[in-house]
């Protein structure tokens, strides 16, 4: 299990700072006043029921959805003003955004490596193929790989530029437990070894508890709870993180009033 990180520790350099983020569609808020930070070397879980605003928040951090108000800083770069420079420090993998299936693993990594301006690209690709056990699939089209292999390719792409901020939207969804554990180990390794922080969404509370240093519970577009996933359930009278999740999903108002 990872060493615990104090919530919002001031001495940890921040790779992501989100302040008063709001997104509304037709006058209805999908995300409302969300503020949080991710520190270097930290894995932060963004949790919440379907429709809570997790993917909306991630899309805003990725620059593909413009916030109605609020600010996003990646390192010290304002995403709204320095979009390209900020996104060069970022990368992501999402279960709903696979790499083009009609290109091989190597071709995809080469194209995205150029887009992210990766230095010594050939060597970096070789390193990632090795790290993610993809050497034998180097020239195989991504579309014919199994979902576990495709996830490994997506993660290899997400780590091409050694991102300062890594966004992972349900990276282990639809994976078997053995593959999911393998993926978790690689992401923990990234956070421990490299200089990046990770923002992670998942519906698997076991894995969140195992991997994340800190979690944020979102419900109806707001951050409802924030804290250490191992102590947070007890602080709110719940036996486990899963019980707490269910309470957040079913009775968010009860938690808001506490």
């Amino acid at each position: 299990m990872r060493a615990m990180v104090t919530v919002g520790r001031a001495d940890v350099p921040k790779v992501l700072s989100v302040a008063k983020l709001r997104k509304e569609y037709g006058g209805k808020a999908a995300v409302e006043g969300v503020s949080f930070e991710v520190g270097r070397g930290e894995i932060v879980g963004l949790l919440g029921p379907n429709g809570a605003g997790k993917t909306t928040t991630i899309n805003m951090v990725l620059g593909v959805l413009q916030p109605t108000s609020g600010t996003i800083h990646i390192q010290d770069l304002d995403l709204a003003a320095q979009r390209s420079a900020a996104l060069a420090l970022t990368n992501f993998a999402a279960v709903y955004s696979p790499l083009p299936g009609n290109l091989s693993v190597y071709q995809n990594l080469r194209v995205f490596g150029l887009i992210y301006g990766v230095k010594s690209l050939g060597a970096r690709i070789a390193e990632l193929l090795e790290q993610f056990d993809l050497v034998k699939y180097r020239d195989v089209k991504c579309g014919v790989l199994s979902s576990g292999e495709q996830t490994r390719v997506a993660l290899a792409k997400a780590m091409l530029n050694r991102p300062h901020l890594l966004l992972l939207d349900e990276p282990t969804a639809s994976l078997d437990p053995a593959t999911a554990r393998d993926i978790r180990a690689r992401i923990r390794e990234f956070a421990a070894r490299d200089t990046g922080g990770v923002l992670w969404t998942s519906h698997n509370m076991y894995e969140v508890e195992e991997v994340c240093d800190r979690v944020l519970f979102l419900a109806r577009g707001r951050v409802l709870l924030e804290g250490n996933p191992r102590t947070l359930p007890g602080e709110h009278g719940q036996a486990s993180l899963e019980e707490l999740f269910i309470t957040v999903a079913r009775e968010p108002l009860a938690l808001e009033q506490r």
């Binding site: 390209s84 420079a85 083009p100 301006g117």
Partner: protein, 267 residues
């Protein structure tokens, strides 16, 4: 602008072309068929009409130039459609790639693919049907340049249209050249058209090219300044198309269309 990012967009298309006969063949097969069809048509017309009039430079030359324009336009839109078909928008637009770099990549790719089509047409038209480019003189190169610029403008406009209206709207883009051809005067002088159609023609850079081409083929003198006007018009239209694409992209980011493009959920 980082050229390596634009090159990445073009490289992706090169990989796709290299690995797929279904993508590679259309780069030159249809234009080659057009050359054969219109080459024989020109020969036949030469046998049944006045001996002094040669249809080859007028008819076959016109088809060659018009096909080149279509290849340029489709060279741009095809690269964009690959992102639509492979649902790749999120990967591309959530990266440091800027709009100018992305559009630059589409143009780079179009230069390569349209050049291949042009070479095949030039070889077929000159060797099999005796099309002599001396009939147009040095102006043949600026003719191609004006058509290239307009093809780029229309290609970028088509991409913006599909980005705005959703994946199914690609069928609005394919017929655009056919829609414009009556106004561009590909096969007849603009004076043949009614006044309102001529007014539209004057906004289309190809109309200056085809007027010039016919004048030169008939042995007449053609004002270079007229062609410069066409080139200037094409450059302005490229800038307008880029501005339109940027505006549509901004709106797509504001509404969330980019993130859920395949759902066609945002009208």
């Amino acid at each position: 602008m980082h050229l390596h990012r634009a090159a990445a967009v073009a490289l992706r298309h090169y990989y796709l072309l290299r690995g797929s006969l279904a993508r590679f063949l259309p780069l030159f097969a249809w234009v080659a068929i057009d050359m054969v069809l219109w080459g024989f048509m020109s020969r036949y017309l030469n046998t049944v009409t006045s001996q002094e009039y040669n249809f080859v430079p007028v008819l076959l030359g016109a088809v060659l130039l018009w096909d080149f324009f279509i290849r340029v336009m489709q060279g741009v839109t095809m690269v964009f459609f690959e992102d639509v078909w492979s649902r790749n928008f999120l990967n591309m637009f959530a990266s440091p790639l800027t709009i100018s770099e992305y559009l630059g990549g589409l143009v780079l790719s179009s230069i390569a693919t349209s050049t291949l089509g042009l070479l095949v047409m030039l070889v077929l038209a000159s060797t099999v049907f005796g099309l002599s480019f001396a009939a147009y003189g040095v102006l043949f190169v600026p003719f191609l340049l004006v058509l290239f610029l307009f093809g780029i403008a229309l290609g970028i406009f088509g991409c913006a249209l599909v980005l705005r209206l959703g994946p199914a709207s690609e069928w609005f883009v394919w017929p655009i050249p056919a829609l414009l051809s009556p106004f561009a005067g590909v096969f007849y002088p603009l004076s043949t058209l009614p006044a309102w159609m001529q007014a539209v023609s004057h906004l289309l850079p190809p109309s200056y090219v085809f007027e010039g081409m016919r004048t030169l083929a008939a042995g007449g003198a053609f004002q270079v300044s007229t062609l410069l006007w066409g080139a200037g018009l094409a450059v302005v239209e490229i800038l307008l198309a880029c501005a339109f694409f940027t505006r549509v992209h901004r709106q797509a980011v504001r509404t969330g269309l980019i993130a859920r493009y395949s759902a066609e959920s945002v009208s």
